[in-house]
Symmetry: C2
Subunit: 233 residues, 2 copies
DNA sequence: ATTATAAATTTGTGATCACAAATCAGGGGT
DNA sequence: ACCCCTGATTTGTGATCACAAATTTATAAT
């Protein structure tokens, strides 16, 4: 095989425009940058990104398959507006699947991965001091996925990413309501790390469910969201 | 709003070419019509379907996001060739997620849904008499998803479909090795139905795991699959 | 004034084309 | 005989265009 195209550096798949657009939209969705129910138009986004319609269309399709977006019968794409029942469904499914992931991770933890988790907790608590919820949310995500990666399951990870994307639009709301508090956002994380270091899958799962559950409680206690908005099937 | 475009009939989303291609490929994958590792080429498929490259590209992208296909670094698309570890991962994940679905279904069963499941079992056992594994696999799928639908979870269903798509290419192998047997393929189904009619989630889950586990055992005991083929990450 | 009809605009789908990267094949050098 | 380089072919990505369906806006009739 020729080495000419690869000058010693490990050649990862080349970056396509589609991927760039996809990542941008995905990040925006993950951090709650779009409103539930908001419609996304191809032409609009294409101009914003300075590309043609094609890569945007592909990115929207991909996010739709990942359940981060939904296609209405009229073929327009929007951010799903979840009903209370749908959110409850999402909560229980996240309990089950992420609980499974952390259970598996509990038997796979290494010293290095425990140290890394510790570092992530410290970093997030420092960020929380500054009340920068934007950055904190990203660190929260890093912490959780560092654990899920330790499950060693390549089947579970994309599923969990999809679940996070579905919750994304409601996450901003949760974190805004939350960080007015006493900055105890990493407490459950400390519990999780503690349980993981002991290899206690049950306790780890319990702390994780408390962590997830708190976010859902914050969102679902906001009555203003359920009166109007038509829920998704 | 104008009624002119909709003459009284409930207007379901119009059929696009992309959807037609997608469904065809999906069915083919579900029933094991493609070999693990097989490469799929856009131009080739486009000619076979009598369309341009565009809808085929979209369909392949969609299936890739659903993990039914994978994109190599060279941007070519192929059916994933799973390593033994990956198949084990898939098995455990299916246990957990489909087990969760049937557990939830156990508390939601109605008389009608029980009758329908009974009908599906009868139909499949009749088909098994004729040793038509093609048709039997489809009825097996119908039975399982009839249960999963009773879980009432719109979050779980697409996840389970993705898991089935990932196992699809290996399913043909399993069913071929299986139906040479004594046609006891519906026995676990009868157990499941029985447990569901009693509302016994634990027993239903056990029977389901036995059912899924048997298919995996058949596939994974075939040593000829693991020596060669490069597994997926 | 309200509602239904019709024209106009918007928006997504699918085809065709241009381009770039990857794969494959053949030839020349060691 | 083997390996590396180079050119030809294949294949996917992205842009542009034509078309059809849906939405919106304007107009007219009750």
């Amino acid at each position: 095989m020729s080495v000419r195209t690869n000058l010693g550096l490990a050649r990862i798949a080349r970056e396509t425009v589609q991927e760039r657009v996809y990542c941008a939209l995905r990040d925006q969705l993950m951090r709650g940058g779009f409103e539930p129910g908001q419609k996304l138009k191809i032409a609009e986004l294409a101009e914003a990104f300075g590309t043609s319609a094609m890569p945007v269309r592909d990115a929207l399709n991909r996010l739709t398959v990942e359940r981060a977006l939904e296609t209405l019968p009229s073929r327009t794409v929007r951010v799903p507006a979840l009903s209370k029942d749908a959110l409850q469904d999402l909560r229980e499914t996240r309990f089950a699947i992420e609980g499974l992931a952390i259970s598996r991770a509990a038997s796979n933890m290494t010293d290095e991965s425990l140290v890394m988790l510790k570092r992530l907790i410290v970093a997030q608590s420092e960020t929380d001091e500054e009340h920068v919820s934007e950055e904190s949310a990203e660190q929260n995500r890093a912490f959780h996925f560092a654990i899920y990666r330790q499950s060693g399951s390549t089947v579970l990870l994309p599923i969990i990413e999809s679940l996070w994307l579905q919750f994304g639009p409601y996450l901003r709301e949760a974190s805004e309501r939350f960080d007015g508090g006493d900055g105890r956002g990493t407490n459950f994380h400390i519990e999780m790390l503690d349980a993981l270091s002991r290899g206690d899958a049950i306790a780890a799962r319990g702390a994780l469910e408390a962590d997830i559950g708190r976010a859902f409680d914050l969102v679902m206690s906001d009555e203003s969201l359920w009166q109007r908005r038509d829920g998704v099937a």
